[in-house]
């Protein structure tokens, strides 16, 4: 059998350095040895199918949990999942999770003294459509304090997890909001070397996609590693 074609590397400057001391927990957790270089095999160009059987049921509406409405500013977060050649990634699993409007996660490990919302669980799961499109209806998350240094606060963010077609283009990232004054102070955001790549983690207000008198809309497009088309490219 011929070897399958592999995936292109991420764009230079977009990959955070693992050891980023301003983000304290990287110091003891970042591997220090060089990764081993290997040829692509079937094992990384394949990956799990985004089925409910595997991941549980999908819902893009995070605002109605347990029979009531979540508190906070409703927002639509939407966009397209593309590869690095701007081709839509169809059938990609997009999972999102976030703190509530008060900046607290519905998670037993979150000890931040901010109120929990019984109608906000903060987890969504959708599969992209034919143009790579996805959409969540959610609540704008609050900023929250964290133990990185004295009085450090995370900018408001939504966590994203994506599966494209293969294990090689797996991505976990975070989406931020425009104009957040905490962004320049955030070591996680700043761990991305290229400032332009950093800015691509910030969504943009899209008035045209707003649901009038209901929810503002923010666009966040996500670009996954693309696959080589011919062995010559590799």
């Amino acid at each position: 059998m011929n070897q399958p074609l592999g995936y292109r590397k991420p764009t230079p400057g977009t990959v955070p350095v693992l050891l980023f001391p301003a983000y304290k927990s990287t110091v003891k957790r970042a591997p220090q040895k060089e990764p081993a270089t290997v040829e692509a095999t079937l094992c990384e160009v394949t990956g799990p199918q985004p089925t409910a059987e595997l991941f549980g049921s999908a819902s893009g509406d995070l605002t109605h949990f347990d029979g009531g409405e979540a508190l906070g500013e409703r927002i639509i977060v939407f966009g397209r999942v593309l590869d690095d050649q701007a081709r839509p990634v169809r059938g990609a699993l997009v999972e999102a999770w976030q703190a509530n409007a008060a900046g607290r996660y519905a998670n037993p490990g979150d000890r931040h003294e901010a109120p929990l919302d019984p109608h906000f669980q903060g987890v969504g799961r959708v599969v992209t459509g034919p143009e790579g499109e996805y959409r969540f209806l959610t609540i704008r998350p609050g900023a929250y304090p964290w133990g990185n240094s004295y009085n450090s606060w995370r900018p408001a963010h939504i966590h994203f997890s994506l599966f494209g077609a293969g294990l090689a283009n797996r991505l976990v990232t975070q989406m931020y909001f425009p104009g957040d004054p905490l962004l320049p102070l955030d070591p996680i955001f700043n761990s991305v070397p290229d400032p332009e790549a950093r800015q691509l983690l910030v969504c943009s207000l899209d008035l045209a996609s707003t649901r009038p008198a209901y929810a503002l809309a923010y666009r966040f497009d996500i670009v996954l590693r693309g696959r080589y088309a011919t062995p010559m490219d590799e």
Partner: protein
């Protein structure tokens, strides 16, 4: 038109909404193959456990060596009762565990077979991007010629080979696979 790939960011400490029930159990009664348990601890550079804030995903072929994916066109049987994917968060002791089956060997470069292995992806608070590694099985003749194991300096290969623990009667054989993020016994990670 070339687009910049979206930057990775840490999974953070509160990813537990991703852990749907049963995601670390890959087998059902009708799954073909030898039942095994794989598990271990996720450890930092001080040997301290990543308590509740690490997440491990696995992806593997079925007992015959075929992946549940359209790009796997090997002429091998599919198993409709095996999807090959699992996800597990670490517990208070940094422990993760999966119930699965031992995968068959999968085709590799130059028509050679790769040794049976499980692809492992690691996420954690403090990891700004995920890490790829592989779990191999002890005593497999194919380990000698496996292309990925061969790409690793011999002294570090043992970090990729799980340790078989003594089986107990009817219980599935258990393989221990600790993942060390940093230091002397740092696990080998791959530039995938």
């Amino acid at each position: 038109m070339a687009l910049r790939t979206t930057a990775s960011q840490t999974v953070g400490p509160f990813f537990h909404g991703l852990l749907s029930p049963g995601l670390n159990n890959l087998v059902g009664p009708a799954t073909r193959g030898e039942r095994i348990t794989i598990g271990g601890r996720l450890l930092d550079g001080d040997g301290a456990a990543l308590a509740n804030d690490g997440m491990v995903e696995i992806w593997q072929a079925n007992a015959e060596g075929r992946y549940d994916h359209p790009d796997d066109v090997q002429e091998l049987p599919r198993d409709p009762h095996f999807r090959g994917f699992g996800r597990c968060g670490t517990d208070a002791y940094g422990v993760f565990e999966f119930q699965t089956i031992k995968p068959g060997p999968v085709a590799g470069p130059e028509g050679k077979l790769q040794a049976p292995h499980i692809n492992v992806v690691v996420f954690a608070r403090g990891l700004l991007r995920h890490l790829y590694t592989r779990l191999y099985f002890p005593g497999e003749p194919l380990n000698e010629s496996d292309p990925w194991l061969s790409a690793v300096e011999p002294a570090r290969r043992p970090t990729l080979i799980a340790a078989a623990e003594p089986g107990g009667g009817q219980r599935p054989r258990r393989y221990r696979f600790d993942i060390v993020l940093q230091g002397e016994n740092e696990t080998v990670f791959f530039d995938v």
